[in-house]
Amino acid sequence: MSREDILSKVRTAFIAVLEHENFELSDETTANDVDGWESITHMMIITEVEKTFNIKFKLMDLMNMNNVGDLLNCIESELQA
């Protein structure tokens, strides 16, 4: 799966959780840039992403995830595992 495909599916997961589409996602995007993305919705997004890609993140990876780029990297490495 290409990084663009992953990003597109991640965006769908964000929309499902946040219930709006008023945001752009790039590698540098953080929770501060997206309306409604905070601690609780982050947990819901993570669950949604895990379901979408049929993967399970490790707590150690989630602990150091600071932006959308980190999220995409984790998905990529989980998909390869």
Binding site: E19, E38, S39, I40, M43, K58, L59, M60, M63, N64
Partner: protein, 498 residues
């Protein structure tokens, strides 16, 4: 005031130790003493003796914590406001307390209409931590919680109230902090649970670790447990509900104490969490803001102390000097084993809601016991007492719910949602349980679908983020129960979050 004297001694004695670690930077008790003294000098210079209720913008920094101590040494109260909450709501708080002075460590304070003490810009003065003489019935803080009419409701707490809390926790032999302890302080300072999360570490000379604003708090807490080897955790149950999918990866042998409060702790998750903390004592605390944080606890143990009701861990027994009473609608005590409303009496009880006689008449009552008149606070929580004298939590008596530990009146959300809507339609706020067992807010609107942006923009401008509904459903006709009331249970089925 004994506890303020003890704070002074502890800060002086532990000068070389760390008091706070904030976003990777640690500060010593000596740094803390310097900041307290600087802010205190500004308070003495700038604020009239008669001004007792001082605003405090709760940033996540050393100065904000130092401000609390500076005010206490001067016998004044802090009125905390969260900088992330809309200005309009915060200014309503200051309006109610007639606060003229605000201590603010922000780079650019938005409180221009007030006299601001910019606590980050003060120069160093001589260290002076000797408290002045404090009257016990003077206020130590006022916290504001959700109110039904759109106006936040103030809960004043006196120095005597705080002293009684400290006395009760001191009397508990199984909980003793030491200077080597590393403690989690995850609470916003406008939330009453923060008081125990900073007060007991400060009294013991321990170090606190805060959660930076903007961090994903669940993972940050795990990071602190894992990397900083925290020994004392004080938290709301929703934290572990969200961490639950990852329990298999958590093993924290350094944690000695884990105190829960601010929401129901469920048996199944308590057991699993306990497995992650092999050397830890778990306390299930109970207590409302109106009774100075804690009123009692149940000492949970996954094998030997698992008492629960409908899957919710018992709240145990009242602590020193506190009285529990379970009553019926006429404020009469009900027999053992019967459910009623839990009422609390004793020295930790608030003097009453701030300038709200109507509410006070409903929430407090006097009762004759052994020739003495005891004042009780009605918690709104339904409980029962068992044969062993343990109290068990049954549920809420009203439309107040807990969202991430915060008390929310559903009526306040409905009030704000309806106030800016062009369509005059029925709206009901509901607490919905998601698949992790946490409560989230939903808004049901009795209408065909329409754009809710204006409604949400308005709600975000007047309420903190935890009060904004995360889910909206349009329902053509609300279900009603046989007595004509909106059937909230049925309405909740429109929100499928699992």
């Amino acid at each position: 005031m004994e506890f303020v004297n003890r704070l002074q001694k502890s800060i002086e004695q532990h000068a070389k130790l760390n008091v706070l670690c904030i976003n990777g930077t640690c500060y010593t008790y000596k740094d803390f003493a310097q900041q307290i003294s600087n802010i205190r000098a500004a308070v003495i210079n700038k604020i009239d003796d008669s001004e007792k209720l001082i605003g405090l913008v709760t940033n996540d920094d050393l100065q904000t914590y130092a401000s609390i101590l500076a005010l206490w040494l001067e016998g004044k109260a802090y009125v905390p406001v969260n900088p992330e909450v809309p200005f309009e709501r915060n200014s309503k708080v200051f309006e109610q307390t007639e606060t003229k002075y605000v201590i603010d460590s922000s780079e650019n304070s938005i409180y221009d209409d007030y006299e601001v003490i910019a606590s980050k810009e003060l120069s160093d003065t001589n260290i002076n931590l000797v408290p002045r003489k404090i009257k016990g019935d003077d206020l130590a803080y006022i916290l504001f919680t959700s109110g039904t009419t759109g106006l936040p409701k103030g809960v004043p707490i006196t120095f005597d109230n705080v002293q009684a809390l400290v006395g009760a926790i001191d009397a508990e032999p199984t909980f003793n902090l030491v200077p080597e302890d590393r403690c989690l302080q995850m609470f916003e300072l406008t939330f009453d649970f923060s008081v125990v999360a900073y007060l007991f570490p400060l009294l013991a000379g321990s170090c606190m670790y805060t959660i930076p604003k903007g961090a994903i708090k669940y993972f940050y807490i795990f990071k602190l447990i894992n990397e900083e080897k925290l020994t004392v955790l004080t938290m709301v149950p929703s934290i572990i509900n969200y961490l639950r999918p990852y329990f298999g990866e958590i093993n924290a042998p350094d944690v000695r104490y884990c105190s829960f409060g601010g929401g129901a702790l469920h048996s199944d998750i308590a057991k699993e969490w306990s497995d992650c903390l092999p050397n830890c004592k778990i306390f299930n605390y109970y207590g409302p803001t109106e009774f100075t944080v804690y009123s009692g606890f149940y000492p949970y143990h996954k094998e030997t102390a698992t008492k629960a009701h409908n899957g919710i861990i018992a709240i145990g027994t009242p602590q020193k000097d506190t009285l529990y009473l379970v009553v019926n609608d006429n404020n009469e005590e009900v027999p053992i084993g019967e459910t009623g409303e839990l009422c609390l009496g004793g020295p930790q009880i608030t003097p009453g809601y701030w300038k709200n006689e109507e509410r006070n008449a409903k929430s407090f009552f006097e009762r004759e016991e052994n020739g003495k008149s005891i004042r009780y606070y009605k918690t709104g929580d339904l409980c029962l007492k068992d044969e062993d004298g343990d109290f068990l939590y049954v549920g809420r008596a009203d439309f107040q719910v807990k969202i991430r530990g915060y008390r929310v009146e559903l009526a306040e959300i409905e009030f704000h949602a309806k106030s800016k809507s062009e369509k005059k339609v029925n709206m009901v706020a509901l607490d919905i349980t998601n698949d992790l067992g946490n409560a989230e807010l939903g808004l049901a609107i009795e209408s065909e679908e329409f754009d809710t942006e204006i409604i949400f923009d308005h709600m975000k401008s007047v309420m903190p983020s935890y009060m904004i509904p995360m889910h909206v459903r349009f329902v053509k006709e609300f279900p009603h129960s046989i007595n004509g009331k909106i059937d909230r249970k049925e309405l909740k089925k429109h929100f499928d979050l699992t």
